[in-house]
C-alpha cells in the first residue's frame, strides 16, 4: 500500500514538473540560493509594533558545510564572528578575546532577538538532505507559477519544524514562499520573498519577510545588498584564525 502510494506520488510529481521530482526542484532552488560558494552583505531588520532593530552583517559560505558571518552593526555586536564547519559552530567575541563553542541546544535559540533561529541563519540543516519531499501541485503566488512542495523532516534530522510547505517558482526556481509548521502541525511562521534582483550570474529575491502567525505586526526582514556566487573561497577561510582576521 505504502509502496503504491509512494509510486503514485512520484509518478504524479514527474508529470507535473516535466521530469523533475520534488527533491530535484528543492535541490535546484537550494543550489541557486547558495551556489557552490557565496559571499555578500545583508541586513536583518526586526520589526515589532512599537520598535525596530537592525543587524548588519557580511557572510561567506561554501557548499553546505562552511559558513562564516561577520557582524558589522549594531556597534555593540560589531566584530563578532560566527563560524560553522560541518556539525560544529563557534562564536568569536573580540571584546573579551574569547572563542565560544556553541552547543547544539543554542542553535535553536532566536538569533539576536529575530524570528530566525541560529539554525536558520547558519543553515545547520539542509532542506535537501534533512527532509523528504512531496510535490503537492502547482499554485500561483504573487503572480508567479510555483511548485508547491511539502518537506517532512527525516527522523534523525537536526530540525525544529514538524513540516515546511514551500513554493518554488517554475520559471526561475526561486524560493518564493514558505510556511513553517511546528511538531503539532500548527502553522508558526510564513516567509515571503520579494524584489528579484540581479546578482551577477543569477537573479534572486533580495528581500525576505518572515512573519509569525500568532503575532500580528511582528516580522523580520532580511535584505541582501550584494551577493557574489561561485567565486572560489579556500577552505582555510573558514578557520578560527580567520575568525579573528576577517572584517
Amino acid at each position: 500500500m505504502g509502496i503504491i502510494a509512494g509510486f503514485v506520488i512520484i509518478y504524479s510529481g514527474k508529470s507535473l514538473s516535466q521530469d523533475l521530482t520534488a527533491k530535484e526542484i528543492v535541490a535546484k532552488a537550494d543550489q541557486k540560493n547558495r551556489g557552490e560558494t557565496s559571499q555578500g552583505t545583508m541586513s536583518m531588520k526586526i520589526v515589532r509594533p512599537s520598535w525596530e532593530r537592525t543587524i548588519e552583517m557580511k557572510s561567506w559560505s561554501k557548499s553546505d558545510d562552511f559558513f562564516l558571518v561577520y557582524i558589522t552593526a549594531p556597534a555593540k555586536e560589531k566584530g563578532q564572528v560566527f563560524l560553522k564547519r560541518e556539525n560544529e559552530m563557534w562564536n568569536w567575541v573580540p571584546s573579551i578575546d574569547r572563542m565560544i563553542k556553541i552547543p547544539p541546544s543554542m542553535m535553536m535559540q532566536s538569533w539576536m532577538g529575530s524570528d530566525f533561529t541560529n539554525d536558520d541563519l547558519m543553515q545547520q540543516s539542509s532542506i535537501v538532505k534533512d527532509y523528504d519531499h512531496e510535490l503537492l501541485g502547482v499554485d500561483t503566488v504573487r503572480e508567479k507559477d510555483c511548485y508547491k512542495i511539502k518537506l517532512t523532516p527525516k527522523p534523525e534530522a537536526p530540525v525544529v519544524w514538524g513540516k515546511i510547505i514551500t513554493w518554488i517558482t517554475r520559471d526561475g526556481f526561486n524560493n518564493w514562499k514558505n510556511e513553517y509548521y511546528d511538531e503539532d502541525m500548527e502553522l508558526i511562521n510564513i516567509e515571503n520573498a520579494y524584489e528579484l534582483k540581479d546578482f551577477g550570474d543569477r537573479t534572486l529575491p533580495s528581500r525576505m519577510v518572515i512573519e509569525p502567525v500568532d503575532e500580528p505586526g511582528n516580522k523580520t526582514v532580511l535584505i541582501f545588498d550584494d551577493m557574489i556566487f561561485n567565486k572560489p573561497i579556500d577552505d582555510d577561510f573558514f578557520t578560527q584564525q580567520n575568525m579573528k582576521q576577517v572584517r
Binding site: S95, M99, K101, Q240
Partner: protein, 391 residues
C-alpha cells in the same frame, strides 16, 4: 622607570583620538574605530554601616584598529573615567589608588585630576602590534591573552584572569606580553606567550589546542609568577548541552621539594531550552581551599585582582545561572554562587533593556549574604544602574 612612562599615555591618547576622528572619514579598510560611553550609578549598602554609599562614573572607551599593512595590524584601546561620590570620599585615597593601579610592566594609567571627592583618570589597556604571515602570528605589546573556556572560573586563564564580579570591565586590563601563535588546522595550533608585570614577575607558557570528536581541547604548561603551572581544558557537548572544563596544577617553583602543589579545577554545563531559557551550572574545586569559613580580608570584591590561584579561599564553589529573554529587548538574568561549607552565598540578578540599536540600560544587584568571616559575609549589597551608548 615606570614614572618616566607615566605621561606617554597622554600623547598616545591624543594621537589615538586624532586618528580615531580622522578615521571616520577615511577609507573603511584602513582604520576601525569603535567604543562606548556610559554612566554607571552604584549604591552600596554596607554590612557594617547604616550609611548607604553612592558613587557614579562616566566612562568612555575607545578602540582603534589600524590595518597598516597586509602583515601588520596595530590595536589600541583607552579608557577615560570620571568617578565621584561618597564611595570615593569615604575610602579616599585607598579606593582611588586601587582604581589607577596599573599592574602592567608599562605604566599606562595616569591620573588626570583628583581630590577626595572625585577621580579623573585614563588608562590604555590595549597597545599592540600584530604581525601575521600565513598561519603564523606574533603580537607584541599590551594585549588580552584569554586562555579561559568556562563562563565563570578560568583556571587556564593565567595571563590576565577573568573576574566574574567585575561585570563592568569584561575586557580586563590586558597584559604586557609577547605572544607567538601558529595555527595547524581550523581549530588547532600552538601558542607561546611571555608576560612581565609591574613587579617584573614573569608568566610564560605554551599551549597546544586541537579539535577531536567535535570537542576543542587544550593543554598548557609554563610558569605563572612564582609557580610552575600545568593545565588542560575542553569544550564540547553532551547531547544538546554545552560541556566545558578547565584544570590547572600549580606548584611553587622555589620550594618545589617542600610543597605538593595545588589543583584548581572547574567544569560547567549549559543548556538552552526551546523557549530560549538558558540554564547554566558550574563548579570549582580548589585543593588547598578551606572547608571552614572562607572569608577574605579585602573590602572590594568587585575590584580585587584575581588569579587562577585566588578565585576563592574555599575548597568548593557552586554556581547556577538562568537567563531568559522576557521580550527580544529585555533580558533577565539571575546568577548565584554558593559556598556549601560555610553557607554563604552571592546572588546576582540583572535586567538588560535594549533602548535603541546602540543604547542599553542595565539594572543589576550584587547581593552578598553570609556571617562574619564567611566567604561572602561582610560585602553587603551593591545596586547598579548603567546607561551605555555604543558606537
Amino acid at each position: 622607570m615606570r614614572k618616566s612612562t607615566k605621561y606617554i599615555n597622554y600623547l598616545i591618547l591624543l594621537w589615538l583620538m586624532m586618528t580615531g576622528m580622522s578615521g571616520v572619514s577615511q577609507e573603511k579598510k584602513k582604520l576601525g574605530f569603535t567604543g562606548h560611553l556610559q554612566n554607571l550609578n552604584t549604591v552600596w549598602i554596607q554590612d557594617y554601616s547604616s550609611q548607604w554609599l553612592t558613587s557614579s562614573s562616566f566612562y568612555n572607551r575607545l578602540n582603534l584598529k589600524w590595518y597598516m599593512h597586509q602583515n601588520f595590524t596595530f590595536s589600541a584601546s583607552a579608557r577615560n573615567v570620571l568617578n565621584y561620590g561618597q564611595l570615593i570620599y569615604d575610602y579616599y585615597p585607598l579606593y582611588s589608588d586601587l582604581l589607577v593601579e596599573d599592574n602592567g610592566f608599562m605604566d599606562l594609567t595616569g591620573t588626570i585630576a583628583r581630590d577626595s571627592s572625585y577621580l579623573l583618570y585614563s588608562n590604555i589597556d590595549r597597545l599592540n602590534l600584530k604581525f601575521t604571515k600565513g598561519k603564523f602570528e606574533a603580537t607584541v605589546g599590551r594585549q588580552r591573552i584569554n586562555w579561559g573556556i568556562n563562563m565563570v572560573w578560568n583556571p587556564n586563564d593565567i595571563f590576565n584572569t577573568f573576574n566574574f564580579y567585575d561585570f563592568d570591565y569584561v575586557e580586563r586590563p590586558g597584559c604586557d606580553a609577547i605572544r607567538l601563535q601558529y595555527y595547524t588546522g581550523y581549530a588547532s595550533g600552538y601558542q607561546l606567550a611571555f608576560k612581565m608585570d609591574a613587579d617584573e614577575e614573569i608568566t610564560a607558557a605554551g599551549m597546544y589546542s586541537f579539535n577531536k570528536w567535535d570537542y576543542d581541547f587544550q593543554v598548557l604548561g609554563g610558569v605563572m609568577t612564582g609557580d610552575i603551572v600545568l593545565g588542560a581544558g575542553w569544550s564540547g557537548y553532551i547531547k544538546g548541552a554545552g560541556f566545558t572544563g578547565e584544570a590547572s596544577w600549580f606548584r611553587d617553583k622555589d620550594n618545589f621539594a617542600d610543597t605538593t602543589g595545588i589543583w584548581v579545577i572547574s567544569a560547567g554545563a549549559n543548556y538552552t531550552f526551546k523557549n530560549s531559557l538558558f540554564a547554566h551550572i558550574s563548579g570549582l574545586y580548589t585543593s588547598n581551599g578551606t572547608t571552614g569559613n572562607a572569608g577574605q580580608s579585602g573590602a572590594f570584591i568587585v575590584l580585587q585582582e584575581v588569579s587562577p590561584k585566588t578565585f576563592t579561599l574555599a575548597r568548593y564553589s557552586l554556581m547556577g545561572e538562568l537567563s531568559y529573554p522576557i521580550t527580544p529587548l529585555i533580558r533577565g538574568d539571575v546568577a548565584t554562587i554558593v559556598n556549601p561549607n560555610d553557607g554563604s552565598f552571592f546572588l546576582g540578578p540583572n535586567v538588560g533593556f535594549s533602548l535603541t540599536d546602540n543604547i542599553g540600560l542595565l539594572l543589576m544587584a550584587q547581593i552578598f549574604v553570609g556571617d562574619t568571616r564567611t566567604e561572602f559575609g561582610g560585602y553587603g549589597q551593591l545596586y547598579y544602574m548603567r546607561l551605555k551608548w555604543s558606537f
